[in-house]
């Protein structure tokens, strides 16, 4: 078996997750936040596939496929919400959405 080892994949996943988290915390555009969230989710998927590959058990890959499908559904809902926000506010700035504050 050739190619990078488990540590490399985990490192990749960690970097993806950190970039995603950074994006979520710093970007103010709703679309950018959603893209960052996707990055974090896929970091988890990379982990699943990596563990599956090196652990010798295929269930991790199956779970990753399910997770992808679920992520697609989640993105659809998220984008629909963003479209609604954009229509009603003509603006995608996240800090403007404060109506729910206590």
């Amino acid at each position: 078996m050739s190619g990078p080892g488990l540590e490399a994949w985990l490192g990749l996943a960690g970097v993806m997750f950190a970039i995603g988290l950074y994006g979520v915390l710093t970007r103010r555009n709703l679309l950018a936040i959603v893209v960052s969230v996707e990055l974090m989710a896929n970091a988890a998927n990379v982990n699943l596939v990596a563990f599956s590959k090196f652990g010798g058990h295929p269930s991790g890959q199956a779970t990753a496929l399910f997770a992808l499908a679920l992520t697609v559904a989640e993105v659809v809902v998220g984008l629909a919400l963003i479209i609604l926000v954009a229509r009603s506010r003509k603006d995608l700035h996240a800090d403007g959405l404060q109506e729910l504050k206590g």
Binding site: L25, R28, D95, L97, Q98, E99, L100, G102
Partner: protein, 600 residues
Amino acid sequence: MTPLLLAAVPVVLPFACFLLLGVVWPLRHTGRPAALLSSLVAVVSFLAALFAWEGAPGAGEPALTLTQAWLVHEGVPLAEVGLRLDAVSASMLVVVTFVAACVQVYSLGYMADEPRPALGRYYAWHSLFVVAMSGLVLAPNLLQLLAAWELVGLCSYLLIGYYWTRPSAGKAAVKAVWVTRFADIGLMSGVVLLYAQTGSFDWSAEASPWVAALLFCGVMGKSAQVPLHVWLPDAMEGPTPVSALLHAATMVAAGVYLVVRAWPIFAAAPDVLLVMAWVGGVTAVVAAVTATVQTDIKKVLAYSTCSQLGYMVAGLGSGEMLGGYFHLTTHAFFKALLFLAAGSIIHAVHSNELKDMGGLWSRTRFTGALFILGSLALAGLPGLAGFFSKDLILEELFHAGLYGPLALCLVAAALTPFYMARVVCMAFFGRPSPGAEHAHESPSVMLAPMMLLAVPAVVAGYGGYTFALSLGLDYHFALTPVGIAATALGLGGIAVGVARYGFGRLEGIDLPGVARFVRSGPMDAAWTAGWRSVFLPVAGVVGWVDRYVVDGLVNLFGWGALVLGDGLRGLQTGRVRDYLYAVAVGAVVLAAWGVVGGAS
């Protein structure tokens, strides 16, 4: 049918009738069918009670019981509820159902002019009363008796306030509740103390004299003993048949019945018995004196009832159960008769006031004869019912060496015929008042129950031996000096009363000092003063504690929650990024904790 099932009839059947009248409003609103149904049920209940009495176990035999465990906790019931038929309850059940049946049939005539829905309401409550009173009589322990006791109190309240459009009736109903409720503080404490001491609600339980003392407080309220008798005269605001049933024959006697029922508890408390003898004696005299100057015929009878209840309590105070219980039964008959006859007069002249009567003898001869018969039975004329039972009480007091209460009872024995002679003279003889000119005899539906009641009013005294035997007691009538003295005093009272009131001079001849004093209402004034000077300040303190300490604590928690929420609401900025920061930081903290925790 077994006696026990028959004894269940006066509980079950009127209850079904009550539910029917209460739920099926067309039946209640039509009035007359409801009245007939209720009366029929009462008559059937009486017949069932009579047969149950025949088959009831005698003295020494175990009581027949039909009970159901109630509030079972870990296999141990708190108490039993159900029926207990023995010699004591069987005879009382007969008295109660007999008077109830007579009164309900009588009411068919007396209340005939009432609006239909009101009549239905009246009979619904009458049915409920029969249930409650039968439940009280047949109670297997003090707990059920207490429940039934409250239920008859409720019926009393409802029926006193029957003419609810009259403010005075409403006030009288509330007063009856307040006064008896005040006394019931003692009764309830007694029941709780009994349970605390013996772990059961049975009468035969070994209990301290305090239980008897507390129970007697309740008796004083229900059976209208001085100074808690003030509600009974006011209760005459109710319809006259109600006064006959509840406030003369049965409900007010519930207190006396309680003492008879719980006799093992009372017999073990000689100090309480002594107090009872004195309270009863004082009640007998005070109420009798008050009765001599009343201008309202029902008030005379009400005070007379107080006085006779005092007799019963004094008799029980002598340490012998028989006299008081015997007098309860005979008194129920002749006092119910007197009230029904008085109702018949009131029906004829449309007034309670004695000054609106007079000369009724020639117009209402049946009623007059029955009223005079009842008066003589009450006065203790030798041969009639009241004579034997009253004599027995006096004998018991004499043998117990209670000469003080005995003297008081003898005074009352002289006053009773006096005020009854006064009423008879003022109502039936002398010059007729304008209202009495057109008086007419009552319909036979009213006269028949009175005649039925007149039978035991005459002969019940001769049942004393059988009655005593059924209770396992011994009784032989013997004319002793005490009895002769009482009879002489009674005849003297009649003579003085007739001499004073029998010759048409009716205005201003009541004992002047007594009249002025009694009519100023000293007892009510004393209660009002006590209410102002004691009850209100105490209630004020309790109210303050409730408002500022108890409620204050509750309000403190509410206030604390508000302040806390106010402080925490600053965390909720509404900005998504802030929340995400919180999530991220939380995740990092959890991860760090996991690493550190994993290391340790």
